[in-house]
């Protein structure tokens, strides 16, 4: 019933502050949540923002906030719509003394906010999505495509395929199909895949799928004819289960399909039923209800009846944990900022950016947070706003995701050159003078 109440609230555009139990008060660190709990992408949005809120609640309840500064938040429903996202950002950016940072979980909305956040001095954090070349922090000081970008992911996928093939040299003459959502998101990794095809000598075929991707008969007949050794599935929403079902229909083995991390949640495989068994996807976060931090959140937050997910079976799901990771990044960046600017004080957006620029989530720190295995170690600097690039791979066994690889590192050297080139081009177009990171404190 509470879920119904919440969705109703979303439907009528009401703020969900009451439902989350968060209240704005002086001396609290405010985090605006540009969430989406209704509409076509509500499944991912509700899991992610549920995890994000659960972690902030956990920090408030267990530690009394960050050095005594409690976190507060307010949700605004974007429905994954760019104009609604901008509207929500404008509405919330000055609430609660000012936004600490914004994480819209939408590449489209993040593109729309790039110029605005620079003007407003509010960091934009895009974990695993958004503009890849924003990893160059000298050109994009306010944007943090943290942990890993689309280009790193493409590199990680090729490296994983190399391990399965028995080495990079074994890819020569092989056929790889990139089956992608025909959008900016789906096209983003193409330059990296093309560079690899040239370097490693495999034959790359690009097959786009028109939005929303609920009909892929023609694409899979093409794949059946090509007989590729591997298919990279770069899908979104209904495109993913449809692809897996269509693959089964033409008899293509799912063990040879490698998805990206937006094709690697429970919501992507459960609708496909048995057709998803054996399918592997990339991940930059762990999942599972038995992870220590998830257990702790369950005990502290859900035990007190303050958990955000109505469907308790989703606790520890891929999207839920991804939201927890975003919560960790938020809290730790504020903590780093406080250590520099004054413990127990509310940080401004500018100070939080400093915290993000100096965020070093080492294995030891992640262990202290009970988050080892939950995300890869990440070290952000002024120049490098990605900070990691690591991804690992998980296979769906019909019931749950099983991790089948360690953290795989992308070809940083190749990608960095591409990122700098693209960022410099952007700086030239926009008349931006890149900041000198050697002079940043």
């Amino acid at each position: 019933m509470l879920r119904r109440t919440k969705v109703l609230a979303g439907l009528f555009g009401l703020a969900l502050a009451a439902a989350t139990g968060a209240a704005l008060a002086a001396g609290e660190q405010f985090v605006p949540l540009l969430s989406y709990r209704v509409g076509p992408y509500a499944a991912g949005g509700s899991g992610f923002f549920g995890g994000y809120i659960d972690y902030m609640n956990y920090v408030n309840m267990k530690e009394g906030g960050i050095n005594g500064v409690k976190l507060s938040w307010e949700e605004c429903e974007t429905e994954y719509n760019n104009s609604r996202g901008v509207e929500c950002y404008e509405r919330l950016k000055k609430h609660g003394g000012g936004a600490s940072m914004v994480q819209p979980l939408s590449t489209g909305i993040s593109y729309s906010l790039i110029d605005r956040v620079a003007t407003d001095k509010i960091p934009l954090v895009t974990i695993g999505y958004g503009r890849t070349d924003a990893a160059d922090g000298s050109v994009f000081p306010w944007v943090f495509p943290m942990i890993t970008t689309y280009w790193s992911q493409a590199s990680d996928i090729i490296k994983y395929i190399e391990t399965k093939a028995g080495g990079a040299d074994k890819l020569r003459g092989k056929k790889i199909v990139h089956l992608y959502h025909d959008s900016a998101y789906g096209k983003e990794p193409i330059p990296v895949l093309e560079a690899y095809a040239k370097q490693l000598g495999f034959e790359l075929t690009l097959i786009p799928v028109a939005h929303p991707g609920n009909e892929q008969g023609a694409q899979w007949l093409q794949i059946r004819q090509i007989k590729p050794d591997w298919v990279i599935l770069w899908g979104w929403g209904v495109m993913n289960p449809t692809a897996l079902k269509a693959a089964a229909k033409v008899g293509y083995p799912r063990t040879q399909i490698i998805g990206d991390w937006w094709a690697g949640s429970e919501e992507d495989v459960i609708p496909a039923g048995d057709a998803a068994k054996g399918y592997t996807a990339a991940a930059f976060n762990g999942s599972g209800a038995n992870l220590p931090l998830v257990q702790a959140i369950k005990k502290v937050v859900y035990g007190a009846g303050k958990g955000n997910l109505e469907d308790k079976s989703r606790i520890g799901s891929v999207y839920h944990v991804r939201g927890i990771v975003s919560g960790i990044v938020t809290v730790e960046a504020i903590r780093v900022a406080q250590e520099h600017f004054g413990k127990g004080k509310v940080m401004t957006g500018e100070q939080v950016r400093w915290g993000l620029d100096h965020l070093n989530l080492t294995e030891a720190r992640l262990k202290q947070l009970d988050a080892d295995g939950l995300m890869p170690p990440t070290h952000v600097t002024c120049e490098d706003h990605e900070g990691s690039g690591l991804a690992r791979f998980q296979t769906w066994d019909g019931n749950e995701w099983k991790v089948v690889s360690g953290w795989i590192s992308p070809d940083k050297q190749m990608l960095r050159a591409m990122i700098v080139e693209s960022a410099n081009k952007y700086a030239k177009e926009k008349g931006i003078t890149p900041r000198d990171c050697s002079k940043e404190g």
Partner: protein
């Protein structure tokens, strides 16, 4: 050649799935002259209700199916009572706008009742090729698609009989021609509309179950309406056989275009290619292949 034949057959069978959704539009249009923008949302609500009753309330398929049907009939009756009845004799554009509002309401209501998480749905028919056809002809023909074609065929026959051979069916056609004239000869408009919306709910349930079994039950089912639009333009908004023939033409041509033309123009063309075909037909035959030709006296 066998590959071309496989593409063609796959396209024809996909077209039947589009036609299933198009049938719901045709029903409403035939009876009220209204293009029901909410048909995709009805498909979603129907499938979500059926899957939700099974998975959330652990009901057997034999209990979930009639209950979902009851829900769709009730929805149809409520729409008639609350939305359409107050709009009798209003311009058709007003009724069309009302269905736009209805679409958003039904989408929100579905997520409110059944949550936003997509569900799997099995109706016991595997989406796998017939092995003996694959072995002998090297052509994959999906068992599921053939089943869907069979179901569509039965639906078309039943609906055609309903419209042509029953009193209610004839009354429906009279109402579609002219609300006021139908009322003046004693045809109960509200009763007729309630029936047709209930039948459209039933068709939405069938379409939702088949599309849901194919791709999963989630919000994306509302997008199936996009696939039905070119079918309607081509087949005619008022023709039940037109929905099927339109579906077959659209399905086959978009698949053939995607496979043979797509690679030369960057791919991903089937989404808009169907509309190109529909537009071409529209220019030559505005009422569609099977639509009624309107002759206006001037």
């Amino acid at each position: 050649m066998s590959f071309f034949f496989e593409v063609l057959v796959a396209g024809l069978l996909s077209g039947v799935m589009y036609a299933l959704v198009a049938l719901g539009f045709v029903l409403i249009f035939k009876a009220s002259g209204v293009f029901n923008f909410a048909q995709g949302a009805m498909v979603f609500f129907a499938a979500a209700t059926f899957a939700g009753l099974q998975q959330e309330h652990h009901l057997s398929v034999w209990l979930a199916l009639p209950l979902a049907l009851v829900a769709m009939v009730v929805l149809g009756l409520v729409i008639e009572r609350v939305v359409l009845r107050p709009l009798v004799n209003q311009p058709q554009i007003t009724l069309f706008m009302a269905t736009i509002g209805l679409a958003f309401f039904i989408e929100g209501m579905s997520q409110m009742f059944w949550g936003s998480t997509p569900r799997g749905l099995s109706i016991g028919i595997e989406d796998q090729p017939f092995q003996w056809v694959s072995d002998r002809l090297n052509i994959n023909i999906s068992q599921f698609d053939v089943f869907a074609a069979f179901v569509s065929g039965i639906l078309v026959v039943l609906l055609a009989l309903f419209f042509q051979r029953t009193r209610i069916g004839r009354a429906l056609r009279a109402v579609a021609d002219d609300h006021q004239a139908a009322l003046s000869v004693g045809i109960p408009l509200q009763y007729i509309w309630a029936i047709v919306w209930a039948v459209a709910g039933f068709v939405a349930l069938v379409a939702g179950m088949l599309w849901g079994a194919r791709n999963g039950v989630g919000f994306s089912l509302t997008f199936t309406a996009l696939k039905a639009l070119p079918v309607l333009i081509l087949g005619g908004f008022e023709s039940i056989p037109g929905a099927i023939v339109g579906g077959l033409i659209i399905g086959a041509s978009e698949k053939v275009a995607e496979v043979y033309l797509g690679p030369h123009v960057g791919g991903g063309i089937e989404g808009w290619f169907a509309y190109v075909i529909a537009l071409a037909f529209l220019l030559v035959r505005p009422e569609g292949l099977f639509g009624e030709k309107h002759i206006d006296r001037v």
